[in-house]
Amino acid sequence: MTEAMIATILSGLVLGSLYAMMASGLSVVWTTLGVFNFAHGALMTLGAYVAWTISEYLGLGLAAGMVAGTLAAALAGIVIERLLVRPFYTNRNMLLITVMTTLAAMIIIEKGTQVIWGPRLKQLPRIADGELFIFGSAISVHEALIVLIAPVTLIALWAFTARTLTGRSLRAAGQNQTAAALIGIHVPHAYGLAYALSAGLAGFTGVLLGSIRFLTPTLGSEPLVKAMTVVILGGLGSLGATAGAAFVIGFLEAFLVLTVGLYWTPSLLFLTMIVVLIFRPNGLFGGRS
């Protein structure tokens, strides 16, 4: 039982780390533009496929693949913002319209990856091989590295948004578009940067995920739903709240898989989110209502 609990905790840590990275990217776009990017999961998929092409197909190694996957997703994010989001900034139904346009982007990317890379399953190599044993429970070195990479990435993201002038400008544009323009901030550029940052993070996370799961055009679909759950449960607010909610969901999922099994776990996760929102409408950690 102890071994099972330790394995569950380790699994929760890995899941929480991945969810935190996925959700923080989604959160950046939400807090800056006030829209949910439904293409976020597809951008993870795109990042993973591009990384596979560079790393495996061209044989240039995982590090090069990681950089290329991240940059490709960031570029795709800029294109999505420019073509599918920016034209609707001033539309009073922007939120609803961008749900549809980003869903369209998701479908286009998913179908595009199928056309370009074909239906055969692919997988990225791991950052490092081998296993670690913690109190008798095994965790792959790759997963252990994900647990280390996630907080470093989140701290870097926090430092960028909280400590640099460009990051502060992003936050300013998100909090008051008019006042931001008044002090000379080019608001559409700020929004484009937020999208690029978020999409780059999605691509990077996709590369990490692509070493654990097989690459399919829908690789990012299920993580997207989890990331949305995390962002909503965290209170649609700060990075810290998002990260906290990611680990709550990660540990809860690992615990539910252990106790009630894989079949009912997704339903129970959603049920938990709904119950929490009934009693705490602003999510677990408050934030913007």
């Binding site: 002038l165 400008s169 909090q175 323009a181 008044l182 002090i183």
Partner: protein, 248 residues
Amino acid sequence: MTIETELEQILDIRGVNKAFGGLQAVRDVSLTVQRGEIFGIAGPNGSGKSTLFNLITGIPYGPTSGEVHFLGNRIDRWPAHRIARAGLCRTFQKDAEFPELSARETVLISAVYCGVEQRQLRERSDKLLDDLKFAAERRDMKTSELSVYEKKQLMIASALISKPHVLMLDEPASGLTKPEIKALDELLLSINRTGVTILLIEHVLSLLLSLSQRLLVLNHGAIIAAGDPQDVVKQDVVIEAYLGGRSN
């Protein structure tokens, strides 16, 4: 109606109009502002004062027709951030703040696009907040937690950090107490003495008369009087616009 001057023009507005559907919010307004003056704009509620400011700064819209020239450049089709970067800054009647940023952060990011060197930023923003007598112990508080007067100070600081040529203030005295209005009066004079041209919309007439070197009155979107402030407020047309008739 036009108000003109032979001195150095910094802002030149030529026949601007703004219509919202069938409503003519600003009609054929022309005026020039000379460098270094404090230019007052008055008028009853809904007379088009703030709309005129919007047309000049491009926030959130430009004029339907007419031209706005600033420092010799036609700016009425420029995006708002470009106008701000050119040195035409404004504040709003209501708080235009970044609620989750601190006062210090707000001033720092306001300096980003004005060419202040990174290493001088903090020193300069602190000095500006000192000059505006903004309490040191409240500079790291979230903007949403500040008082009305502090928010006004912050709006002015955000505009001033970029060393603007023209500062446009939309009812800066609204919501302030008498001592705060007096402090604001002194503050605006001191800013003007540094060479900053000020356009001032204000309902507090004493402040407007005390500060303005020239005054323009709008009603129903059109200029009804302009000139020396003491003369303008005595004109029948102005009294009628405010009171609906001559008072005794």
